[in-house]
Symmetry: C2
Subunit: 365 residues, 2 copies
Amino acid sequence: MANYSVIMAGGRGERFWPLSRQACPKHLLPIVGRSPMIAQTVARLGRLVPPRRVFILTNRQHIAAIRRACPKVPRDQIIGEPLGRDTAPAVALAALLVSRRDPKGVLALLPADAAIHDTAGFQAVLKAAFSAAEQNDLIVTLGIRPTQPATGYGYLKCGEPLGEVNGRAWHRVERFVEKPDLATAERYLADGGYLWNAGMFVARASVLLQAFRQHAPAIAEGLEKITRALDGRRGRRTSLSAALTRHYPGLPKISMDYAVMEKAGNVAVFEAAFDWDDVGEWPALARHEKPDTAGNISRGCAEFVEAKGNIVVGNPRHLVALLGVDNLVVVQTADATLVCPKARAQDLKKLLSAIAARPTGQQWL
Amino acid sequence: MANYSVIMAGGRGERFWPLSRQACPKHLLPIVGRSPMIAQTVARLGRLVPPRRVFILTNRQHIAAIRRACPKVPRDQIIGEPLGRDTAPAVALAALLVSRRDPKGVLALLPADAAIHDTAGFQAVLKAAFSAAEQNDLIVTLGIRPTQPATGYGYLKCGEPLGEVNGRAWHRVERFVEKPDLATAERYLADGGYLWNAGMFVARASVLLQAFRQHAPAIAEGLEKITRALDGRRGRRTSLSAALTRHYPGLPKISMDYAVMEKAGNVAVFEAAFDWDDVGEWPALARHEKPDTAGNISRGCAEFVEAKGNIVVGNPRHLVALLGVDNLVVVQTADATLVCPKARAQDLKKLLSAIAARPTGQQWL
């Protein structure tokens, strides 16, 4: 068995503005930890999936930055999409690339920018998932035990137990459910049989390709075209980049959950026995930094006077001084500063739309 | 008659932090208008007191900057105090310097950093005050009609009418009162006979020197020492700078109001028939800038989304973006950013104390 990992790095740099930008999305930043999130994601795989068996799918504009962040990942395994088509075409392309290299390959699909501190725990669960996926025609997901009735994640409902792998219980997935409303999320939390869908899953490349043929034939046809272009016709081969330029934009724009996971019957799940945080917006930093006695979090250089529960991100030479304000996010960069309540951080896109509408707004996006 | 003006520029750069600093107090900044407040103060005197008859009293560390801001004021008339002794010793020194140049000189004492847009109105009242002060042994103040029950200013109570000068009524001042509590300030406002003491007054140098001899003999004695040093003894003259270094620190630290005005019986007042604003803190900017439809004021480059009544000060290349916050002051400079509610701007000193207590805090003060 050969393990591969395909890291999905399609971020647009919106949720951590003004630190993240279109040219520098979250996975290229040390939002949590000290190195870019994507470098942490590669390192976290350890010897289970060494960098020579890591692929990274990203926007073409980020290839150079990802090469710098992940110098051990072979350059030709950092693949640029000519434009984003959501996750399903990206997973399909990942499966195709792994299967062309190793028809028996098993691959783990992982988001580039989640925070996981328990590396050993992560590797242990991932190892079990690799074993399970190698030996079964299943797509094996890693589900996260909910700690709150979150409405920002999809859920999966655990079904029939499948026994144990490496001493870890796993189950069939009874069904996937999209982001619920609060009441439903509270029911899921109380029920105990629902896990968060963290977008991490493991399967043989062949199992994934079969799932696309079955549930997303338009994507499977697109893959055929890419395959034919790569193999060449009458002796004329095409580079991967050229093949993607030609055929990738024609793929349907659709998420993996919607295109495949919600329809596939052969999905299983291991509960992730490690910490996991997708760090979706600025207030999430509070889960990874030590607050002062007034609950303020500061990265960079901040002074708080009669101020509680604030999050400040800046740099060591610039003093951000908060007087008499509570529960704000203040992020200071060389050319832009954000001030908003923590409770409004999820509305950052509204702000970015307003900036985009300025005559010279693009310089700050 | 020769008119002089002595501009009091003793600011410490606290109230408009982080734009103002110890090295660059408010009078050196275009807080209102487009040139440094002190340059506006000099220009506002017009032909009534040309720059060659203007003196500026300041901290020694600000002399070079004031020379740059006010290039028409003769260099030796920009006088540096070796250390601040509050306003009374400064006024006494001003009177001494004018009297040594012109024993019959009449001088107007003016703060360096007030905002007055109606230059013609200002000059008309000042001209009347010069006439009145030349012809009477009186200290002639310019009082401001209160527009609100301010507790941050001293007041003066108008007494016996003194007739008219240039068609303008003037009165004796019955008494000076220190900053009142709110109830008292409301009573003064309703009464109508009280004006704000704006620290602007006109008198013959000789009248001022006599007032110091009478009400503040310790200051008068200090002036004697300075005079003897300047005149020299046994042929050894001392420079003004050396004389001040030697004798100024020994003067009592006391305000002009407390040392002289509250005790002197010979004080009169013209009501200032012009706009006046001492622009005491950031929220005062709202009185001088046009707000957007949501009441936000922006100097520099700001984006407001679902944000009301904020004041943003920055620069054109740095975007300050406010999302979902109301009534904040956000001031962004190259090395420091302030965020505080408008209602807390008067507590800026608390913040500066906290910064001063940091191991390397001085760099930001």
